[in-house]
Symmetry: D2
Subunit: 365 residues, 4 copies
Amino acid sequence: MDGVETHSNERGGMVEGRIQVGVMGASGTVGSRLVAMLVDHPWFELVEVSASERSEGARLAERMDADASSLPPALGELVLRATEGAWSAPLIFSALPSGIARAVEPALAARGHLVVSNASAFRADPGVPLIIPEVNPDHLSLVGEQGHPEGGGLVTNPNCVVAGLAMALAPLHRSFGLEAVVATTFQAISGAGRPGPSALDIVDNMIPWIGGEEEKIAAEPRKILGDPGAPADFAVDATATRVPVLHGHTVSVGVRLREPATPEEARAAFETFGRTARLGELPSSPERILAVTDQPDRPQPRLDRDAGDGHGVTVGRIRRGEVMHLSFVVLAHNLVRGAAGAALLNAELCAARGMVASGTPTAAP
Amino acid sequence: MDGVETHSNERGGMVEGRIQVGVMGASGTVGSRLVAMLVDHPWFELVEVSASERSEGARLAERMDADASSLPPALGELVLRATEGAWSAPLIFSALPSGIARAVEPALAARGHLVVSNASAFRADPGVPLIIPEVNPDHLSLVGEQGHPEGGGLVTNPNCVVAGLAMALAPLHRSFGLEAVVATTFQAISGAGRPGPSALDIVDNMIPWIGGEEEKIAAEPRKILGDPGAPADFAVDATATRVPVLHGHTVSVGVRLREPATPEEARAAFETFGRTARLGELPSSPERILAVTDQPDRPQPRLDRDAGDGHGVTVGRIRRGEVMHLSFVVLAHNLVRGAAGAALLNAELCAARGMVASGTPTAAP
Amino acid sequence: MDGVETHSNERGGMVEGRIQVGVMGASGTVGSRLVAMLVDHPWFELVEVSASERSEGARLAERMDADASSLPPALGELVLRATEGAWSAPLIFSALPSGIARAVEPALAARGHLVVSNASAFRADPGVPLIIPEVNPDHLSLVGEQGHPEGGGLVTNPNCVVAGLAMALAPLHRSFGLEAVVATTFQAISGAGRPGPSALDIVDNMIPWIGGEEEKIAAEPRKILGDPGAPADFAVDATATRVPVLHGHTVSVGVRLREPATPEEARAAFETFGRTARLGELPSSPERILAVTDQPDRPQPRLDRDAGDGHGVTVGRIRRGEVMHLSFVVLAHNLVRGAAGAALLNAELCAARGMVASGTPTAAP
Amino acid sequence: MDGVETHSNERGGMVEGRIQVGVMGASGTVGSRLVAMLVDHPWFELVEVSASERSEGARLAERMDADASSLPPALGELVLRATEGAWSAPLIFSALPSGIARAVEPALAARGHLVVSNASAFRADPGVPLIIPEVNPDHLSLVGEQGHPEGGGLVTNPNCVVAGLAMALAPLHRSFGLEAVVATTFQAISGAGRPGPSALDIVDNMIPWIGGEEEKIAAEPRKILGDPGAPADFAVDATATRVPVLHGHTVSVGVRLREPATPEEARAAFETFGRTARLGELPSSPERILAVTDQPDRPQPRLDRDAGDGHGVTVGRIRRGEVMHLSFVVLAHNLVRGAAGAALLNAELCAARGMVASGTPTAAP
């Protein structure tokens, strides 16, 4: 942030010389949500959007997976370009499918773009940071070792259900040390993107499996809660399921701790973290990144997914177990804290740390 | 069965001299399902039905929580009586709320009726057997010690979600010894009876708590899998949730075993039990009491709840864990295997064992 | 508004000397929504709330049918009083069940309170105005003939599905004259209040009947679109159904007109009315009270119910018929435009017209 | 049926020399349902199945849109062939998409196959009969004029929502003469086939438009209720919507009659038709093809769609209107009476009339 002339606006950020950004995969569920979040963003100005071949050349407003009526005309009129080829914006968000991300993201980083990705392609790569800004911002140091030119780099955010889970595990791990985690998820329909599950398969039903998800739930929290390059050492059993809920991933969690804690001690750790780990300098950071509910039947996806405009994580039902030390339930909005909002916070973190290329079209924070 | 002249019918049972039975709480969700299952039952003849004061005097067909159009007129015309007072049938099913059951059931047993109850009131009582016929029929011996007159006694079946869970745990416990169980449930709407959750609370939502349920999930499997009067010794952590599914309770289960087993060994134990523990002499016993599915995304409530006409339990997703030895998913129909069908099978078991009072209106099996 | 010293605030209204208001039935679905809408209202200050006997004495925050966490502490701490007895606020909202409203509302009006009611009890009474502020504000003249003391009176708003329907019929009636209306509704779950339909009855289902609703759909639009005391003269056939949608009532409408109009002429009438009939001086009046969508598959309840913060009505699918002259689909949020918001707009209209008692605790607009 | 040696079986039909049949599009929603209905069919033996290129060569059991576990192994092992090319069975069902049907069906008829199609491609063709066996079996005479070789011909069944609607209109048209029909539909998810609506679009929502559907609802009943080649003359306004119901299309209907009838007279016409128009000689014909319910809140899709194993249509809420003479609600199972069952009944009708080619592999009825 050093040396950049700015003035604050309503969202507490800087407006002069907004950083130009692009969104790859802007017509998908996550990409469209990102576009909506970038409207009037105090630091970022959306100038480029891409979509798959089928939508190339169309206006963004015609292809968004969201109601485009609230989009400012200037954004709605952006023409969807191909994902391949040169981009001009110094900061590029990736909401690409994993296969395409694998080919495109490193190439852009190599050309000096900071790529902030929601794709899973490189999350497991030891040289690529997997970041929740409030949990492991220090992992950004890995970008410097990626060998890209000034301003180039690749930063990822966790899987949509891991985002909330890892946020809840963080204070427990720091205060008491995690030894083992058993997690069963209740994942929302929108977590599957478009088209997602057919209504024929999910109405009056649940599906006790999501391909590839359980491996991520096991691996990603260990990477996030460890040191850069050295994952934390705890065991994870995960069962990932899809339930007929539109938005909001809920997880039933049991943990065994290295230093056993009472529910009250765990509650205090959640509370303290929720209040203090906030990064208030980031415009999209919510007042409470993690809140504890004492109502016996909460958190519930419909009632709690919009906490902190979707950036807030809610923990409830903290109790002692016979098998695991503690059980609790954690909920986060899969499209905001778990995807588009996660990428946006990561981009804000990078901008605040001065990681966006200096040779950008306009002065940046 | 000894000494009773019978002849077999299509359902493999006996028809001459059917045992007269009553249903307490016949207008509720479970009671109505029981009534429907008793239509043309080869051993039992429904002659008495009760409901709460509000419905007293009404015809059964008017108050059933089910489409009464398929009910034979003779049954539909039965008049709902008060639950209190003298009953004539030797075998009385109880689909009562727990509070009322607590007062009524022992009184009936003391008057020489065999009470087969789906209520939770006495499930935890060490002197009252908690039975899944295919798992612990030997626990019926407890009835003899209840001190009731000839033919009198009280038999219970497990909670709707325990019915399927305990069935799946049985072969693991017998083959490998259970040490610990971590279970998260996905319970259907009909498990709450009438009126059950308001649609306002459960559409596009899940509720991560069901009052009193987790205690039952911890206690009942230990009682069922133990010896009469001596519960089995394993730890249980349970999280009970309600999901927007009409029927079919699903459970995500992790187990730690005294003698570790591979998924293949567990699969074999499930399969063998599913084929061999059947009690073929009971008319409602399904061909396969427990089946294993190898499809990665099964069991699913809408697709699998009607296995064995709702009496069959389905297990899937058997796999090795990092924390627990094994994880798997189990599903059963909460109204059939988990409630009405459970009581019916218990009654059939008692009848087959000659436990129904001899002084019954007509000769009994 | 004449002669009242005020100053404008952000919502375009007056803040000095807010009018004290009460809400009867504040713990129900509609009452709770009203409470939420009164938070920071520029003209009204909520000072009294009542609920049924069961909730009497409890804090409002404990009994609201809404998440009370966003309620200012001052409101949440209001103690629920009995509905009967004397009230102090000059303006009382009624979100009572019809039976109780029938007894309570006239008594309050007779004591000089302006009662703004969402209940159906007096909607059909020729002496009680049934108001949609943007459609028939002139019907307020009926209050003067009610014979109540200064400041006393009774004003009602239409049934939740009529609110949107009558708004859409208004421009057609004025421009072309209505002769006949055939309407089939798709009403949301929340329209039934608490507890509303059991999830057992509405998941994977629809219910083609809502008791008493079709009579209101026939009668209320005629009253609203007529002169005070002289209902308009057109025929109505209504079929009212409940569908598994949380909020937002949709209506499929066919109309026969006295002076036939093309779809384009009807579209123009809707558009003009939507832009010009707004009462901009009312703080809760939306920018567009009625909007036309040209997307072939809109309006849809989940996508369009929040137009104008729920005060906006959306019309789509305007087309020529073989039987009726025109067909179209209209949608409105049943809890906002159709209930709480309807009452609030009516109260704002009365306040703006200087109809609230002068002897109010603080200077009123 | 003349001159065919047969013997009756349990389903009331003939078994010796079953007619070999094929199903084109056997892996889709309708085709798979047809396959399931052909299991143990007394007249037909399924010997050939086709699917799209993607599934060519796979076993039917692997690709069915249904649980294949209940399929007899002999059927499950049938290999999916290409739809193009020569077929051997004399009777071919078509569950093809309309575009493919247009090319394939006439070619097969020209080669002497009787094609019984659920596709919409030729329904509007004046030379192709559009049949509901119980309503207009005489339209089969059109097949003789199609100019195909002996045994060749093309027969179609109505659109899934028209099937129930036209059945309900038939007795009214015959008894009183239809002048005008206003219909609003509530169509189930499965009516859209696979994949059908994304759960993201239909949970907590309804969609007030189904492309191309309203034109069919207007045209098909006129063709069915008219004479061969001369459609009946009544006006139709239709609004077609999709609701979150799995199966069962409901329609809210208003009719104007040439000879006005009371609700009681209409009820009697429905009842008489429902009992007498049955074609008892067809194995799949239900006991009651149309039933009237007097319960005020019926028919409901979840409760009534399986009447007559899905072949029965249910009418309720018959009442007088102010605009139309009568209003009522009609419901039918869209996959059975509205698609697969409709085709099956048509095939049974053709077989009973001796229309299947004599040169068939085995003796036919």
